[in-house]
Symmetry: C3
Subunit: 206 residues, 3 copies
Amino acid sequence: MHPRLTLAISVMEALALFAYAISGLIEARKRRLDAVGAFMVALATAFGGGTVRDVLLSRRPFYWVQHQEYVVVIFVMAIFAPMLLRMTTRLVDERMLLVADAIGLGLFSISGTSIALDAQMPAFTAVMMGVVTGVFGGVMRDVLCNEVPLILRDSRPYAVCAFAGCWMYLALERFDVDTIYNVLLSTAFILVARLVTFKLDIRLPH
Amino acid sequence: MHPRLTLAISVMEALALFAYAISGLIEARKRRLDAVGAFMVALATAFGGGTVRDVLLSRRPFYWVQHQEYVVVIFVMAIFAPMLLRMTTRLVDERMLLVADAIGLGLFSISGTSIALDAQMPAFTAVMMGVVTGVFGGVMRDVLCNEVPLILRDSRPYAVCAFAGCWMYLALERFDVDTIYNVLLSTAFILVARLVTFKLDIRLPH
Amino acid sequence: MHPRLTLAISVMEALALFAYAISGLIEARKRRLDAVGAFMVALATAFGGGTVRDVLLSRRPFYWVQHQEYVVVIFVMAIFAPMLLRMTTRLVDERMLLVADAIGLGLFSISGTSIALDAQMPAFTAVMMGVVTGVFGGVMRDVLCNEVPLILRDSRPYAVCAFAGCWMYLALERFDVDTIYNVLLSTAFILVARLVTFKLDIRLPH
């Protein structure tokens, strides 16, 4: 793989993880959790999807075992959460968080699908694993915070964008598109689909 | 095994899965979830129990990986949920859903126990695995919908029927009853126990 | 290992399991669950942490498969829960429950860390596994009872005590302290830390 592409993906991954972690911190703040709660909810949001996928696929080691540095960073983020969230709301506007979250949705879903394919899962299962990887962190965040998971009720296409993008990844794979370009293309598709449907306020049947 | 019996069990299984999925769709409707929510809750209700059992027993592949056709059917059911539920309430009365659900409880519990026995689990654990298989889909449905799981509070014998039936299965197994008859007998026992205790409005201590 | 120490640890373990189970029964009572609900919540509280750890570490058999006698005892406790809880509140005052729970927190966290180290986990992961073992039973109890988990919000150092104690265990391990003394020392540290911070009403940042 071209080293610059590898770097680009690593950067996007870090970005996405922190976007997910911050969404956990924001939710924890809303529910008035303490620092431990903020840490756990942020961890669950960032790593929950991939962990559930790996448990389902009997796959080890977990991402957060291999990348302990991210766990430590989220630990520090949770301790300084009040400060961090104030900074975030001042420096970063909501659109930037939305974009980072959409990058995460795209990257995690596509990587989940690709990992499931490597584990010899059939097509439909691989797509479902991708969607689980992308959205399950948010589900765990909301269950811990005692809410009906947002993605099950907000009627905006979120899981649906991931679902479509994962199928696109499978299709391009059949056409022998190089994996790295396929990852980038499919991730970009999910990212754009999420942002466009959000902007146009497109709704799912209810 | 006699092919007609195998067919009978497959038909009952399909019936039970759809009864569970429909109970998920009904709950999703009540909580005003969107189509994605309906799909996920229906999936969790139908496959949750068996999946938890398989994770606990380190057993693969999952039922829903081997039977993707059921996942696709539930997918379609979730998309047409509003229509489907209207049809269901018109064509099928509540008693039929109750019976189908009780068939599911029986069949899933007994198959769970039988699978746990094959995995060399001791007796009490095998029974617990059976009960988990039968009731955990409903627990996941209610947790996702942000409710205290119905089976933990409604004080009707539901898990208790499954529990008794699984012990019956173990006992008949000791007496060398042929597996297929044992499955049918024990499932029938749970089915009847559930319907009779429901009808007589028997309550657990509270 | 000295047989008397082994016995001491077994006794503490039993004490801790029942303290956890009783906290499950109390919560179940508050939420007006039936006997099935009381049993399941008590089981989840007592064995939830260790089970999640074992699933994450791909470790079998589970503790509750090897020690079915504890499951049976909790089963009986759940059936006689109303009587048991009345007796508990009469004979045992709240401080005793607090101490038993703190013993559980210490013992489960340290044993979790030690098991994770045996499974070749890196340091930070081993500590996290210890904390999960100690606190996740309570998280599952509260999620089943449809509450935001207490340890995420009560702002008293609970997980934090376990966290510190697990690091202490790791440090002593590096200094080649004999495992059994290390377990006792680190458990005692968590126990004391929990009781002292509770007594002094020390709070985490919120």
